[in-house]
Symmetry: C2
Subunit: 390 residues, 2 copies
């Protein structure tokens, strides 16, 4: 099996952009992706594309992938829309890696987008709900924040996790996002702010929930030959883990873990022959604050019930042992559903290039973790900087 | 690049099944797929899945792929929903081929489904419309039959194609489908029937349009090692062509060709080192009668404007030089959107196994052609029987 490399990655600004469309947002992400390549890559070299989107709202639904590639000047290349809810572009990236590893193509584009602010709040809530289980969650009135609130309650009861622990994830991510000019909510918040915000779904308050965001992101995946040709810094995909699970939370044995994260992480670590202690940074899926805590435990950053301690001790702060969500995470950078998975890889690529807004000192290994729904589908990718190209 | 093989393929009955759900339909397709494997394959050997669906209606929309794999007993495997309108499972199959060729997995499942008869006719029409271009087709009132009616009118004007030519495609496909116990409209029709049916979108009448169908289909793709282990007849994927295009018909230079079909076909033929004259059978995308005629020309079965002649001369009849749509095609077998692409491969697999309802004599090469929307995304796959396993 030949290796796949990330040779470029970029995102649009994340935010609320009533004047933009999914096409203009993707265009912006794609331009920055091409600009991020160290050397010269012609768009003509891109042979296949995978576009992730949940497809919120009433715009192009069927065949939106080809609509995107045509708009960005890649007319005619095989283009697949991938939909795995909030993990849509994590899976799009996985397909791009497979396409390059297979030898079918030398350069593939993975990306994603979502436009969430041009529909009514009711419509957006409906679309978010479709990532939950239909019969016994969405159509029974359970909101998406309600699903994660159940996980938070269970974690608090089982492990003594506190509202302060949840709030510290928000404070950290906002501090990071305040350095990111492309973040949706690029401002700092205090622990007091994050403790005293209005309740959304008890025990989660406004600062424990990510915003409703418009945006797009893209990543270029290439063979080693192409990567050596165009890259000063070689970023190899050393682990591509993924797993699915029951879509409904009520169908699972435990509310205090996302089993698909555990399995995807174990697969990725094994493929890469890497352990959590080897990681220099991570971008994890913090759609709600509790999700970041679950990720720490599911991905082996700490033992069960210890996630709150990691936050209290600053282990995942930028100057800690494992800086996590240096981009600002979904909480501060924003969560344009389909754009989130490849958006995390944008941050990873910038960390390796040394151009991140909150830069980690010369990282060798990084992890990205993208969760669909409440854990019905997860991807975990591991990246290694393999030194400079000759 | 290592080779990928089809080791099993099966479909549910296609039809109108108010008592079935997408899960029960897929279950039926998957059972038949496992049964179709010559030797023993344990479901545990299936490592990844790609599920194509447009997602018509209001049931599980986000993460429907994982919901399917959980239901059929493949809990936890990486599962991706692929959506490229009517080419959703053609592309799902393409990803499964890439996954096996990459070496990431040895056995992958590709499949698709659609449930179209449990929503109102208005809702179904809306969902079909989403495969057209949004701003200038769907929301301006152009129906999907209207889009293909424009292609039919243009072909009639440019090449003198007649209503009789279109109707002959329906007569042939119904004759084939009448032999297929899983066909939705498994009855014969006369040329007179097909000429005198009520108009749907002038010049297309009821017999020039496929039905609104519920159904599911699935295909197992495997490495050569696994294929040699479980298959008596080895069916190799020798060409995997795909291409995208403008989603809107009005954005293209010509109405009398689907350029993505031309490009996907050329790619597949070149990869396989096969020419149209080498083919022993084909399953082409006849969502409307004109689509079958366009396919003949776009895939090089004949020159431009000659498709009507092929039908008149019986070239694509079961006893002709290139039997086409022996399954009954979308017209008679039915067109459950997401199930169609892999449904065509079910027919191809049965032809190679010698178990087809309308059997071609010992075929060596077969082609499947799956079109999304009016040609915004197309896959063309070429299969070769490479003799019996040792």
């Amino acid at each position: 099996m030949r290796d796949a490399y990330v040779i470029g990655a970029g995102q649009s600004a994340f935010g609320s952009f009533p004047e933009e469309t999914y096409l203009t947002l993707f265009d912006s992400a794609f331009d920055r992706t091409l600009d991020s390549v160290d050397g010269e890559l012609s768009p003509d070299q891109i042979e296949e594309a995978y576009i992730g989107t949940l497809g919120v709202g009433g715009r192009q639904i069927g065949l939106s992938g080809p609509a995107v590639t045509e708009h960005i000047g890649l007319h005619g290349i095989p283009t697949t829309r991938v939909e795995n809810a909030c993990a849509s572009s994590g899976y799009a990236f996985r397909q791009a890696v497979a396409a390059v590893r297979s030898g079918m193509v030398d350069v593939a584009l993975a990306g994603g987008y979502e436009v969430m602010n041009d529909t009514s709040a009711d419509q957006t809530k409906w679309w978010l709900g479709v990532s939950g289980q239909t019969e016994w969650e969405r159509t029974s009135g359970t909101t998406f924040s309600g699903v994660y609130a159940q996980m938070a309650s269970a974690h608090m009861e089982e492990y003594g996790t506190t509202i302060e622990d949840l709030s510290r994830a928000a404070v950290k991510n906002h501090a990071n996002g305040a350095q990111n000019p492309k973040a949706h909510l690029g401002f700092e918040c205090t622990l007091d702010d994050a403790l005293n915000a209005p309740t959304v779904a008890d025990p989660l308050n406004l600062y424990h929930c990510c915003p409703t965001t418009d945006g797009a992101s893209a990543v270029l995946v290439a063979s080693e030959d192409v990567a050596r040709d165009v890259s000063d810094t070689l970023v190899r995909v050393v682990g591509a883990g993924a797993s699915s699970d029951s879509v409904g939370l009520f169908q699972r044995d435990s509310l205090t873990s996302i089993p698909a994260s555990v399995r995807a992480g174990e697969d990725a670590y094994e493929q890469a022959n890497v352990e959590p202690k080897d990681l220099d940074f991570a971008e994890v899926h913090d759609c709600f604050a509790i999700a970041e805590l679950l990720a720490y435990e599911d991905l082996g950053f700490c033992d069960r019930g210890e996630a709150g301690r990691l936050l209290r001790e600053g282990v995942t702060d930028p100057d800690g042992a494992l800086p996590t969500n240096t981009s600002g995470g979904l909480k501060s950078k924003g969560h344009p559903i389909g754009a989130t998975g490849t958006g995390q890889i944008v941050e990873a690529f910038e960390q390796f290039q040394g151009t991140a807004n909150v830069q980690v000192d010369e990282p060798n290994y990084g992890l990205t973790h993208n969760v669909g729904g409440s854990g019905g589908g997860v991807t975990v990718h591991l990246f290694e900087r393999v030194g400079s190209a000759a």
